[in-house]
Subunit: 366 residues, 4 copies
């Protein structure tokens, strides 16, 4: 252990993700029991750094949180201390200031000598800012989308996959009873991991991923073909980031011309409508939404989060600087924290699971 | 047992509902084991009656279906034999004909002497048509919405409540970690049963039901009040049929002016947007959709469906005519099948559970 | 509201039961929000009364506990203030004393004017003791066994049924793949409610209940018959209190003659062995045990527990004395608290659900 | 594809394991869609080979089985064609004969040119017998215990871990409310994988594994220590194969001296009793049993099983001989089928997850 470190901070940033509390618990308990380190919990991600909201975490604080969804520390989605909105111009535009120095002073005054940043690619950019200013940061990758560069898997993904699969299993029934095409839109941003794995797990007939632009006519051909074959239903799992060949991603947007503008649907809704129009077969879309990122983590994510939190502390205790905890194969390892900055790991079109899915008869609409 | 009956038909009509297969199984097994009756399964609801698609059900057919969602017989949503589309006018308008006589001939030729109709209020109207033409029909009420007149509870409802509660539990986490208002729109048509019970079960902060028109400003007051009190999150469970005081129900509709018209959101989406605009607090809506009506039924629904199927057969075997199986309190009973025709059982505003919810601090936005 | 009451106590006694925290929450919130009453939580059931361990419950204390299993107040299984072990005789026999007066003094000194006792039939006897000494007690019935006299249903039961059904569903698979008889022993003491409802819900082939003594030869006949019919597996759901005709209940006991005495199995284990011996068909027993009484309650139990807690407070606030909250049909009501004292509600052999189960081919081994 | 192969057989042998049907489906669909191979399903494992029970699998046969537990082909636990009981000696001892030649004739007559054997280490020995007789066998490793040599993970394990974790989560509640030590005995034979991962996932206080013999006094010290610290409950996850230092494994055995011999408990029961005796703290044991190996597989197992089935077919189609499909890190690979013969992969005492568990305060009783 580096003798100089006696107090560290931990924060959770970005969107919600099952397993955050499991990391906080593993970090705090390992610090306390193994290394006699004090852990400060920083509230609401980087926002708590700016606003100086942090508190020491006790054994009681991290008791009984392993199975709980969310984060006991709170999070904030968009806080970037380098570009922090401090007010508005006369014309309503926000005025931004760099609050990094303020954050550094808060840390110094508290005696916090290193940070554990639990977050996604955006948060790792936030961490990189502090790394450049001399704060030792250990990153713990977190995203349900499983799209972080450098790690084979992130916690939260298994839970999202579980929930998406359960929903697809349920929807299967409705489609089969009513001779329908059912489109289920799942999360994943620009990566199709959730759609691919939950689609394979539930035996979806068509998988539409951001990595494989689809041809709506080929999608409709599959729907019609199944209907001819006697199975008058089709299950389509679609990533929120999927897009047609040559087309744009459908962004969830607001119709400005409507007197009472309410949000329009996304790509799943659009595909369902196109299928209905082109095949005449009744089609419905379900957008899973935030249920995918909340609630108690599945065991796999709890184990992974515990390993990540433990390893983060071990790195710190062994004097490591600015590392990102990762999983490579079945082994825990670490890489440069800056490596994950604003990059995404998408699925290679020849990925083994895509080949297996094609082999069992799944269409990718291409 | 009425000696003349030796063969009956069973059909499932209307939307999907967990427990349909459990009824089919109970009907078929009771007929076979207790009354030596033959059961014909009619495919795709009333459509199979018109198209003469029906088959004898064997012990094997109903083996292992108790826990399965959907219906092994298939269903059809909108088929009304009295108004059956047989073609189109030159101007594209459908031409309707009354196919009741055709259905009667199909039944007669097969020797089917009575029908068990598993369906909602619409399907009971369909049954009433055959009742008026002399076919003995026993109705089994089916709807996840729990809104059928004459029965205190319908199977399918407990499963929908379970799924909605589970989703609300998961969403709770996300809201709490991110200081958000989370709106969860559940099914129920014009009745608030699913929203009320899942809302109470999950401890939702605001419940918006069709039976209690809401004042969006009061909704926003609760959101702001909670934020002031230190709980910067609010969970709102809303029925798809909820509406503002003096306002109209928001129908899921398509914007015709958009070049690429995709379906617009419903009342949940609108409420989320209004909260965000009026309070400045980040708000999100999740529409649960079809996951609520598919998949394996919870035990309560399997038991209820088994009782309903059993009682339907007992009624038939005892010579009853045109009854609807119902649950009154904890007792199974029956009523006139025509009683359920196109009526709905909504929640009285002074319902015990509403009083209890108010007592523990839940707002109804009124 | 009776003006004189301003402070009440609440305790949970007896075995664990999903929904206890939901009652505590409803009691506390209704007291606080509706009646301006202060609520003291008494720790570890009647033991906390004797040992003067109680604390005021705040809004924070009951926040986020609705979905949590167990009880935030703790419980104690066997504490009876009238017969409280205060030491041991020289020969090791315990010395009992009546601590009722001590408890009364503790309550008086705290200004607690009424008690809400959440418990089973044993705990209602404990409450009756205080009732006789002039303390107003409102009872809330609690047991997973569903066997309390006066109420049609108790919270906790639906969760136990859910867990037992889920286990039976899983076990079904194993039996079917391996041509086995699988015996699953569930809780319920002298009442067969859990076995009956989970058995019907999962389609168990044989149900053995305390209320219907079984003939092991008839049980074996069913197993052999199914094997002849081509289904070489049988699922048997058995209550822990089931017993053979003319036989005794098998008590889980310790063999005193064994050098390393470990607990012997119960009735489920015995039935499995007898089937194997008499039919030659491989048989296994699984004893579900404590998983049935822990963990998050299913929505039905949360709703019921909320209603019970709310009604208990309403009774108190309206000046009622010594009532037991009950559910009659679908209506909440109340009865004399002494009515539930040490009695049990078992299943009538001609119960509707038994008739329905027989009709679909289930054997009761009789 | 090797041109000579046009028909293959598939069988499932050994204990039940979630994911078997997913493999059968992937094998059959890949064979059909990709390689124009015919697949014969052999019933009840090696027994069907001896008894010549096998049937061609159609697309319909493998439809809708992906999510189903068990195996549509049936299995048999102990059938070894090399040592097949054909009758009994006069003294009741079984007479064994080698039926391998018979099996070979059955295969030859059917034109089955290769076998896919889905099984554990015992079944791979069975396959090796056929390999030595010139039958090309591709092995697919299957065990919930995760103890097969050569692969980092087996399907079925994730489901067992899920069920064990869910049970531990539920039991946690009961223990916490009642100040008890709760022992939960899980499966795993001589390997502690299920106990280790479910124990870490649920935050069990003590983990007792076959790989780390325990000292019952140290176990009791932890129980007492927790009690002193104010947490009067302890959760102990124990493998069925765990054993005390210097002691023997406790085998589930029958007491021969009892007039009505019923099975005695195993190591979990013994540990619970010892804790109660040595600490005076109320202790209970729950033996999870067969629920761990049945029911629908979790998504992870469905994906893994699909990959395994797909890869097995790819190997066959590419002319590979006698390979075992394995997972190394996150990559699918294959090894000699004989490598897995009767060996087990246990946990190294310095395994990362053991280190992490110790770091967060878990005791291994050593």
């Amino acid at each position: 252990m580096t003798p100089s470190i006696s107090r560290i901070g931990v924060l959770t940033a970005g969107g919600d993700c099952p397993g955050l509390n499991a990391v906080i618990r593993a970090v705090t308990k390992t610090a306390m029991f193994q290394h006699n380190l004090e852990v400060y919990g920083i509230e609401d991600g980087f926002l708590g750094l700016v606003e100086n909201r942090m508190r020491p975490l006790s054994r009681e604080d991290v008791s009984n949180i392993l199975t709980r969804g969310g984060t006991i520390l709170g999070s904030s989605n968009k806080c970037n201390p380098q570009r922090y909105a401090v007010g508005e111009e006369e014309d309503g535009k926000p005025i931004f200031e760099d609050m990094t120095n303020l954050c550094l002073r808060h840390l110094k005054r508290r005696g916090i000598e290193a940070l554990i940043v639990i977050g996604g690619d955006g948060s790792m950019s936030g961490a990189a800012n502090f790394v450049r200013r001399g704060v030792n940061c250990i990153g713990v990758p977190k995203t349900i989308d499983n799209d972080l560069v450098g790690t084979d898997v992130t916690f939260g993904f298994a839970t999202a996959r579980y929930i998406a699969t359960e929903a697809l299993d349920r929807i299967h029934t409705t489609a089969a009873s009513h001779h329908r095409a059912m489109v289920v839109e799942v999360m994943g941003r620009n990566a199709g991991w959730i759609a691919l794995e939950s689609g394979v797990a539930s035996g979806a007939d068509i998988l539409l991923l951001p990595e494989i632009p689809f041809d709506i006519d080929k999608v409709c051909d599959v729907v019609k073909e199944r209907s001819r074959y006697g199975k008058a239903f089709t299950i389509i799992a679609i990533s929120e980031g999927a897009k047609p060949i040559g087309g744009e991603q459908v962004v969830h947007h607001v119709d400005p011309t409507s007197p009472d503008p309410i949000r329009l649907g996304g790509v799943g809704e659009r595909v369902a409508r196109q299928i209905e129009e082109k095949t005449g077969i009744d089609s419905r879309c379900t957008v899973l939404g935030h249920v995918q990122r909340g609630g108690t983590p599945v065991p796999e994510d709890r184990v992974l989060a515990t390993l990540f939190g433990y390893h983060a502390l071990e790195l710190l205790a062994n004097g490591a600087q600015n590392r990102l905890v990762v999983m490579q194969g079945r082994t825990i390892a670490d890489t440069e924290i800056t490596r994950a900055e604003n990059k995404q790991r998408t699925i290679a079109p020849d990925h083994l699971l895509i080949a297996a899915a094609r082999a069992v008869g799944t269409s990718f609409g291409d």
